[in-house]
C-alpha cells in the first residue's frame, strides 16, 4: 500500500521554465515532508523539506508547497536548469512510538531540455 504517491513517472521541461513535481499522500499523521534528488549511480540527496505547520518553504530556486487538506505537496523549480535533470523522490515522515521513519514515493524523472 503506497502511502506516498508520485503519479507522474516523468516530466520534460524547457530550460528556464518552471518545473512542477507533484506528490500525494494518504496518511494524515505525516508531519514532515522531504524532497530528494537522485542522479544515476548515486544515492538520493536531500533537497528541501517542509513541516506540516507550514504551507510553503523556499530555498533558492526550489520551493515546496504543502496543501494539507488535499494531502498534496509540490516542488517548484524555477528557473529550471539542465543540471536539474534527475529523479526526484517525495518522502513523508510520521511520528511513531519508536520514532520517525520515512516513506518514499516512486519518483519522477525530470528532464530539462537545453
Amino acid at each position: 500500500d503506497q502511502q506516498v504517491k508520485q503519479n507522474s513517472p516523468s516530466l520534460s521541461v524547457q530550460e528556464g521554465r518552471i518545473s512542477i513535481l507533484n506528490c500525494d499522500y494518504t496518511n494524515s499523521m505525516f508531519d514532515y515532508f522531504l524532497w530528494y534528488k537522485k542522479y544515476p549511480a548515486e544515492g538520493p540527496t536531500f533537497l528541501i523539506s517542509i513541516s506540516s505547520i507550514k504551507d510553503k518553504n523556499e530555498d533558492g530556486r526550489f520551493t515546496v508547497f504543502l496543501n494539507k487538506s488535499a494531502k498534496h505537496l509540490s516542488l517548484h523549480i524555477v528557473p529550471s536548469q539542465p543540471g536539474d535533470s534527475a529523479v526526484y523522490f517525495c518522502a513523508a515522515s510520521a511520528p511513531t512510538n519508536t520514532g520517525n521513519q520515512f516513506y518514499f514515493g516512486t519518483g519522477t524523472s525530470l528532464t530539462v531540455i537545453p
Binding site: Q2, A41, G43, P44, F46, G99, N100, F104
Partner: protein, 115 residues
Amino acid sequence: DARVTQTPRHKVTEMGQEVTMRCQPILGHNTVFWYRQTMMQGLELLAYFRNRAPLDDSGMPKDRFSAEMPDATLATLKIQPSEPRDSAVYFCASGLVGTGTTEAFFGQGTRLTVV
C-alpha cells in the same frame, strides 16, 4: 566530509548464494535505514535501527533477509538464499532522529544482480 559508505557498489551472484551488504553510517547518527529501490515501489523501506536496536523490519522478507548492526559503525543486510527477484539497488541511509525530524543521508547504494 561525512558520508554514508556502502560496500560493495556492485554484486553479481548466482541464485541460492548468500549476499552480504555493508553500510557505515555517518558518525554520531542514531538511526540507520535500509531501502530497496525498485521500479514499481520506488524506495521501499526494509528495516531500520535506532541506537543499534532494530525498530521495524516488517518490510523485509523474514525467511531470507536479515539485518543487523553489530556496532555503531557497521550495519549489514544479508540475503540467504538469494533469488533473481532480489535484484535491485539497496540503499543504506543514516540520520539523527530525535525530538525533531531531520533528513536521512543516503549511501551510493549496492546494485545487486542475482542470476
